[in-house]
Symmetry: D2
């Protein structure tokens, strides 16, 4: 065994399945007031941010996750100017939001100032200067408290938060009550989108509960899925609109809006990919439809493992 | 550590990434004249057929792979009656082919008689009696030799073969020459489909080469992708038609054809999933378009690891 | 990765250290009324008996463990005729006891009849017919209860029991009370020996507590250590004598007694190895001397992990 | 899985057996002109120096290895004044040599200046200032060349070199020719000792060949063994004397010489441990006796894996 075959990073991705990832180096290891933080460099996925033992985003494929999280929502809106991001520590969600020429103000509210400062310094490939954009506003604290105090008026709210885990800080941000609060702070026609956990076959239970909860709050939910290899497979997202329905965009219309409104070159998302995102397998649409769980503080959902 | 946490099945899924899968039991372990064969029972994926150390299909999600392999091709054809399957040892591809009411004859040509007999006995959940269907015909031997001797007249040819690996038995079945041979044995309007290896970001090199090779042989290729968790992520497929173009089916038309022509209840494929299958990410369409490699016996492609 | 590199058996051997052992096949997997039982075939150690996820003995080096457990005690006795074995399911301790020509009666009391029957059938290389020796007597049940009902008169008692673990069946057999009971059932000059858990640097806590407990019961304890690779390193044993002191045998005397009294060819134990067994490192003798814990039902010791 | 359960260091310790060691952090990772170097901090063994993927010594148990390597040889000599160390990069062998009050000059010849400087800076717990002792002399280069140019007169030569591996730098230092050279540079009554690789059951092939080779060069060899857990089990050493025989020291005599001659408090070695070191199991003495391989440049021995 050669020296560079010896170090591994191991992460459970589902019950009975571990990812064993060749580790090149540990760039940073520490704790903030809120969570354990590691930045590791891995052979298959490059630099990777790990919070409390769970991969948050990796150099190789963070573009898939962040584009899938941001662009379907912002392009479905006719002209998003004022955007709120909850979480988003790495700054890559902010980067994608600011890529929209229509956006005049992007507020990012993250609980963990130390983490954001660490990412700003150590993960420049993620934020690419987004934190310095004059349209960006950073706030540190609890997104729920922030929204309670905020006036309505966001054209989009993007929930880029850690997975719901027992005792984890994001747990309250996956409840019907929180979704109702967030929807109430949208401007008319405003759109809410959240990352929604794993959506691979056999592990979509939290995803379907999140979809059902957002549906309970908003009347209708638009689930979609993209494969993010460093996360271990298909990843779910869910959108809702404050009132009415989301427009059903053709691939051509998606491509046209991208050309008109997005200032950067995308890697994952375009008109064809849009169809792929929303083309859920039959079994998954069935599980979403059959799900009855509405998440509340006293009936949480956890992502395992 | 409890006793049932102690046994693991480890499979490389990409460079620097191993799947460590909790192993419940080893149901069968042996060798045929052609390959090492194991049937294992795993915690996350149930019974799993492993050939030469590589997962072929697993109880939990084989339906995704086999439906994705068979139905897009057979439903795109107006009335497939005569179908050839190359490989397909487990009998599940045969099962899906025979689910089509239009099919009058399904020939399955597999190299490995011992493997087929083993699957017939030990994996009844895969074939579900397909081998006993009077429309099924089994032949043992080399698919290339079989096609050379066969008359034209297949409405569909389904290549359910092992991945191309150095010295592996399927290597010749991924070349332009073989695709030309197969296309020549189709009836007018006949369709060829092959499994085409991993299609996740960072490991789609073989997939794009297979697509490009089929395009070189047929003039046009229709790549598509489905996530199969037990395979480690997105899996690629490629279709071609003997002449002309494949019809572009709407979701409604797919659902109508399924209702009309498929006798079983599907789990993965329907009109919505169809859109998902063909909605490739931008980066993957870009890699397919940029690929110049045409696979030949003397310029093979291998799937790593 | 070749097919035969894919299956692994993983066993924790100390905090933060796992043994990852190449698994060739699972010969048997089941549960008795008392414990999970597996017989696996591994690349480095051959056939291995695993109880509740913990290696009990392996084809490659069981001779080290069983010879080290039995012969120092029996050879220290002038003429052991009547021997009790507590535990000893595989029959290999019985085998080594019966190798002594002086032995007229060897009673083996094991809790788990199903396990003993399984070993008798599946592990013939362990017992080598010992169960059929007319001097052997099998009893099934609790060794403590057996000793309570037994008359005194054993020249040696050999405790070949599973490690003390939380809620495990052997826990009561590592207490001062049990040692007092066992000593009371010895004949004058009778010797008690027990396996005493790991004795490698950094994990000898249970071993030293067992030594100290036996010392509390018997007045004096004779600890010794042998490396058993399949157990993950040095393994501890502890002897005590009913009254007086054990003779200090020279290597020559050990060799002479082996020649006189043991009918089989030994692999591990002889006069030179005897000196090695009792030549404990300075740090380990220091830890034994410093240990104050006397194990009782309400102050147990557990072997981790 | 908690964040601190996620990183592992994996090292093969024998065919089919890996040590999977919980990794706390990577303190240093780099390459010198000669080898890959990593300093890692592990849960079970603390700080660990790894060269070319192989553990060299670990904070928790380096005292066992270094005391076992140095003291039996130096105490067997009546008054060692002038000592040569070949290898010994960490400085811990130098530390143990200099603990002898008799020693007036200790020359350490290591190939890898960068490594020595790194250890000096990063592993102060190993050398404990030994490099600054006025009796210490450092030389950088090939130990064979150094000895060829050196005059006779060393009272002891200590070979603290990396294991013999294919193409490795220590390979020539395990041959009969090198042992003859080293013996020729000893003063009358001088003693040569080498680390000699793994000595656990099932993997002692290199150890026995090294013993046999030293015997071929010196007429007689004194093999001994100590368990070093971070190395994966029993570790072999071999001594030879320039002429005549080594004195057979009693435990009392060892303890007396330690008290008289060693200025530090030892952790592993004393009179009792001495008996343990030389009390080889019967099977191992048998394998040493049966070994016929004499290592030469054209008939090397390698340590696997």
């Amino acid at each position: 065994m050669k020296a560079d075959d010896a170090k591994w990073y191991v992460e459970p991705v589902r019950r009975g399945l571990l990812h064993q990832i060749k580790l090149k180096s540990v760039v940073y290891s520490g704790r903030t007031a809120f969570q354990g933080v590691e930045i590791i460099d891995t052979d298959p996925f490059g630099l990777t941010l790990v919070l409390d033992g769970k991969t948050q985003s990796a150099e190789a494929d963070e573009f898939i996750y962040h584009e899938a999280l941001v662009h379907p929502a912002l392009l479905a809106h006719p002209e998003p100017k004022n955007v709120l991001i909850a979480g988003g520590g790495e700054g890559a969600t902010l980067r994608e939001v600011l890529a929209h020429r229509t956006v005049q103000r992007a507020v990012m509210v993250d609980l963990d100032r130390e983490l954001v400062e660490l990412c700003r310094e150590r993960l420049p490939g993620w934020h690419r200067g987004a934190f310095d954009d004059p349209r960006a506003k950073l706030a540190f604290g609890d997104a729920k408290g922030y929204l309670e105090r905020a006036a309505a008026g966001f054209d989009a709210i993007v929930l880029d938060i850690t997975d719901p885990t027992e005792g984890g800080p994001s747990l309250p941000l996956f409840t019907e009550a929180f979704y109702r609060l967030a929807l109430s702070r949208l401007s008319p026609g405003g759109i809410l989108v959240t990352q929604a956990g794993p959506a691979s076959h056999g592990m979509a239970g939290a995803f379907t509960a999140i979809c059902n909860t957002l549906k309970a709050a908003a009347g209708r939910v638009y689930p979609y899925v993209a494969e993010v290899p460093s996360f271990g497979g298909a990843w779910g997202f869910a959108m809702a609109v404050k009132s009415g329905e989301l427009p059903s965009l053709t691939g051509l219309e998606v491509d046209r809006r991208i050309a008109d409104r997005i200032a950067t070159e995308l890697g994952f998302y375009d008109g064809a990919a849009h169809a792929g995102l929303f083309g859920l397998p039959k079994w998954l649409r069935g599980e979403v439809a059959a799900q009855r769980h509405v998440i509340a503080d006293d009936s949480p959902v956890f992502i395992d493992p």
